[in-house]
Symmetry: C2
C-alpha cells in the first residue's frame, strides 16, 4: 500500500519541467552558487578557483526502459546519462554513488547484472562506483550521482552563447529515436541498418573525450548534451544565453534518412525532436573554431557545424531555401515505451 498519492485526481497531471520549477522556486539558493539551477550539473565551491561538480539523474524501468533493453543495459545507461552531462560541461567524472530501488522479488542474478552494468558504465569513462544504498520499491529505480572536480572558469555552461558564435554538434542525430521506434514497432528496415539503429538506443555513448577536449580548448561559449533532443537543447542554450539560432544544416544521420524514407516518417522530426541522444551541442567563438576542431579531432571525434547564434530570439532552420521554425519540444520521458 502506498501511503501517499493513491487517489485519482481531477487536476491535470504535472509535467516534469513544471515540477522542477515548483521545487526550485521553494528552495533557498546557496550564496555564490557556482552553477545556476537548471544547468546540466550543479557545483559547490572548493576554494582556489576549483569547484566540486555534482549531478544526479534517475532511471525508472517503467518509464525509461524500452522493451528489448536488458537490465545490464538499463543500468549502464543510467550511468551514461549522468556521464553525458559531465561531458557537456567538460568535466571528468571521478566517483559515482548509486541508490537502487528494487522489487522484493529481485533475484541474485539480477542484482549481479545491475552491479555489472554499473561497473561497466563507470569504468568505460574512467570513474568508479564508491558507494550507494539499496531499498525495496515497486519499480526498478536506479539513481546515479556523480562527483568530479573542475576549474570554475573552465566549466562550459549553457549561458555563454553570443551572437555570431558558431553552432556545432559532435555527431549526427536521429539514430536513437529510429532505434527506439524499431524496438517498439514494425518497421521496414534492412538488417544491417537495423542493428546500428537499435544499438544506438540500447548502448548509448557519452561524448566524454570530446567534451574534455572542448573544455580544455577554451573555445566553447556554451554547451549542453542532447538527452532531451536537439531542438530542446538548442532552446535551452537560447534561453540561458538570451540569444536565437539560425541553423543552415540539419545533422541527420544517413541511416536515419534511409529509415525515414522507407517508412514514410519525417527525418527532420526524428533528428530534431527525438530524445535520448548523447551528442554535445555547443557554441564556439568563431576565431577559435579551428582550435576546437583540432582539439576534438585529436580526441578522436569530430565537430559538425550546423549554424550560428543570432541576436534575434528566433529559432530557425533554413535548408534548400526553405525556412522552418524549430519548436521548443522534446522528450520528457518515454511515456509509451511498452
Amino acid at each position: 500500500m502506498l501511503p501517499f498519492m493513491v487517489r485519482k485526481r481531477s487536476e491535470e497531471p504535472l509535467r516534469e519541467r513544471e515540477m522542477i520549477e515548483i521545487i526550485q522556486r521553494r528552495l533557498e539558493v546557496m550564496p555564490r552558487m557556482p552553477v545556476p539551477f537548471g544547468d546540466d550539473v550543479s557545483a559547490c565551491d572548493l576554494g582556489s578557483g576549483r569547484v566540486a561538480v555534482l549531478k544526479t539523474d534517475m532511471l525508472v524501468d517503467r518509464t525509461d526502459v524500452p522493451k528489448g533493453m536488458s537490465l545490464w543495459q538499463a543500468t549502464r545507461k543510467a550511468v551514461v546519462m549522468n556521464v553525458s552531462d559531465f561531458a557537456a560541461k567538460g568535466v571528468q567524472p571521478l566517483a559515482l554513488l548509486v541508490s537502487l530501488g528494487m522489487p522484493a522479488s529481485v533475484s541474485r542474478k539480477e542484482v549481479e547484472e545491475i552491479a555489472d552494468g554499473l561497473n561497466a558504465g563507470a569504468r568505460e569513462y574512467g570513474a568508479y562506483v564508491v558507494g550507494g544504498d539499496t531499498g525495496e520499491a515497486s519499480d526498478v529505480v536506479i539513481s546515479v550521482s556523480v562527483f568530479g572536480v573542475a576549474v570554475k572558469d573552465k566549466l562550459m555552461l549553457r549561458s555563454g552563447a553570443r551572437p555570431g558564435d558558431v553552432v556545432a554538434v559532435t555527431g549526427f542525430f536521429g539514430r536513437s529515436s529510429a532505434g527506439l521506434k524499431i524496438l517498439l514497432g514494425k518497421f521496414d528496415v534492412e538488417p544491417k541498418i537495423r542493428r546500428g539503429l537499435v544499438e544506438s538506443a540500447l548502448m548509448p555513448h557519452a561524448r566524454l573525450r570530446e567534451g574534455l577536449a572542448l573544455g580544455k580548448s577554451g573555445a566553447v561559449s556554451a554547451s549542453i548534451d542532447s538527452s532531451d533532443g536537439l531542438a530542446w537543447s538548442l532552446h535551452e542554450i537560447a534561453r540561458a544565453s538570451n540569444v536565437g539560432f539560425l541553423l543552415d544544416m540539419l545533422p541527420v544521420a544517413e541511416e536515419v534518412q534511409e529509415f525515414a524514407k522507407a517508412n514514410r516518417l519525417d527525418a527532420l522530426d526524428l533528428t530534431l525532436y527525438g530524445g535520448e541522444e548523447y551528442e554535445l551541442v555547443v557554441t564556439i567563438k568563431p576565431r577559435l573554431y579551428k582550435k576546437a576542431e583540432e582539439a576534438i579531432a585529436k580526441a578522436g571525434g569530430a565537430l559538425i557545424r550546423i549554424g550560428s547564434v543570432t541576436a534575434e530570439k528566433d529559432m530557425v532552420l533554413m535548408t534548400e531555401g526553405k525556412k522552418c521554425v524549430i519548436e521548443p519540444r522534446g522528450y520528457e520521458h518515454f511515456k509509451d515505451i511498452h
Copy 2:
C-alpha cells in the same frame, strides 16, 4: 507494466545486506579509496590531505514511511538520515542533490510539500539543495545525495576502535521505536509521553553539532550513527575494528522505560534493536575522554559512557550482575509499517 522482475520467484527474497555484498564484490575498487566500502560515507581524494565526502541514501514511502508521517516530514527525514551519516564522520554537509520519483498523480501541493521538506532539512543543518532530478515512479522515492569536504586524517571511521577505549553515545535510545509502535498500534501511554515519543519517530534530528565537535576534538577512535539500531551499530564497529564490547550501562530513555512497563514490552529490546535512531555511537581514547566531553558540552550536547572496548570479540551487556549477549540484529526496513 514493469519490464523487469515481474515474476514471482521460488528463491528466498534477498536481504538488503546480501544485495549490497553482491554488488560490492562485483565492483572494481577505486585505487587508494580514502574510505572503504561499508562505512557510513564514501570519499574521493581532493589532494593536499583533503577528501570529498559523498553519501546517498534513499527513502521509499512504501517501506520507510510509517502511517501518521506527513509528506513534508518524510522528505525532511530523507535529508536527516543522510546528514546523520555525515555527523557520525564529523563532516559538515554542504550541498545536496535530490532524485525524486513520484506517481503521475502527484499534485502541485504535494510537490510543494516535498520541496519545503527538502529545504527545511537542508537548512536545518547549514546545507543547500543545489540540484536534482524528477521522474515518474509507482512509489514516492526520495534519493538524497550529500557532498562535503573533510581533512582525510580527521574523518571518524568505523575501524579505529582499540581495546581499552571508552564506548559512549550522544543520547538515550528507544524513543523512535516506541514512537513508531504508538503510531502503528494501540498502546497504553500518557498523552505527555506519547507526544515526545511520536515526535522522535516523525521528526528525527541528526547529531551534527555533536559530530562536528567530536571530529575536531581528535579524541574519537571510531564512530557510526545508529539508524539501524544500537546493537547493529556496535556490531558494525566491532567488525570493522576487530574488537568486542563490554557494556555496563543500557542507555534507555526514561519515557521508554515507562512506556515499556505500561505495555509489558521489553525496554532492552526497544533500546538495543529498534531502528531509525539518530544518536552517534563512538569509541574514545581514555586519556582524551574528558576532552571529548568538554567539546560536546560546548556544542550543546552530552556524552553518555556505556562501556568499553575489549580485545575479546564478545558483545556483552552486564547490568545489575546480569550478563546478556547483544545480538547482531537491527532494522533493515520497516517491513510492517502500514
